[in-house]
Symmetry: C2
């Protein structure tokens, strides 16, 4: 007869996942140095020692969040490859980045912080993933040029023009609430508007003949 073996002593949706989620929020809000493992564990409703059991250190936990983040973006971008029309591909890439920022709310803030930090916490593997993201944008531009649909453009400028505004839009949301400006209070922007605008601007840059 099968005995009722206790499988999981007390944790419900997996203490590891809970810690991961709480840490992502904390790192986004306060940065790597500013976040505090005691508070992360508390927010996760998990004992602090579990953090060191699942991840080997605060740095290890952070590195895992970074890798997960960039892996997801890279995957979402890779999924746009079937698009054979250059313009459609660019549109899909803009949307991919924006949707990812929506799906992982910690992602814009953490990315901005990591940029400011010069990638100090980014390990080798993650560096490669980030390089791959740049490569994907570059190849989309390159293909469009080869198909005589885009004029030659610096891929880095294209990337800055897409990622910059998108990240800023999501990341500045909390701050905009603090700046009492009738302007953007009156004109609430939606994710859809931002996507459409950045898509339009990116294509204006790539398809325009001027300059």
């Amino acid at each position: 007869m099968k005995r009722a073996v206790r499988r999981r002593p007390r944790q419900e949706p997996g203490s590891k996942a809970r810690l991961f989620a709480a840490a992502a929020t904390a790192f986004a809000a306060r940065g790597f140095a500013g976040a505090n493992v005691d508070r992360i564990a508390e927010a996760a409703g998990v004992n602090k020692a579990m953090l060191y059991y699942h991840f080997k250190s605060k740095a290890g936990l952070y590195a895992e969040i970074l890798r997960d983040m960039f892996e997801s973006v890279a995957a979402r971008l890779a999924a746009t490859t079937p698009q054979t029309d250059p313009a459609e591909r660019i549109r899909a890439m803009v949307e991919a980045i924006a949707r990812e920022a929506e799906a992982r709310p910690h992602f814009p803030a953490i990315w901005l912080r990591e940029i400011a930090e010069g990638g100090a916490h980014v390990d080798k593997g993650t560096i490669a993933i980030i390089g791959g993201i740049l490569q994907q944008v570059a190849s989309a531009v390159h293909d469009g040029v080869a198909a005589k649909r885009f004029r030659p453009a610096n891929p880095l400028l294209v990337q800055l023009g897409i990622v910059g505004p998108v990240l800023m839009f999501f990341a500045t949301a909390p701050m905009r609430r603090r700046v009492p400006s009738q302007l953007h209070l009156a004109t609430q922007l939606t994710t859809e508007q931002v996507i459409a605008h950045v898509q339009r601007v990116a294509l204006l840059t790539l398809e325009g003949k001027a300059r």
Copy 2:
């Protein structure tokens, strides 16, 4: 006969200015929480106690750097007002922001971090200055529309489209050095190219009729 009074016991270019500069660098590189007052004082070649003498705390020092930063941007933007031609004014504003980022190398990273932090360290007065910056962009757009030179556009989108790429360009410089991509190693971007590109894109957005 005039006695040789000792005016300044031992400090050369003003210990306050030295601390300020060292702190700006440290906060840019490591963030508010990540920076360390001991190391700031050491980098400044000034005794740590002086930091508390000139500024009342680590937070006070940081707040002063923030205010100085946004004041400078606001001033540089205000200086573009004489431009009566709407397009020229936008061009001047783009250049103003980029030149400021060059003049104060700590400015892009700190701004990105403050965005990520939701403006947690920004005091009332500085909030007002930031609001003024947004206002200036908005009024430039508004004036252009009134003069029938621009089509109506959301000022926030315009701002994101300018500040996003410019900040990202400067702030990602250290990280780009770490990402081994043939792409942007082959195509080194200059500040001038970035300014020209962002100016062009901003005006394409504002002057274009398509939607």
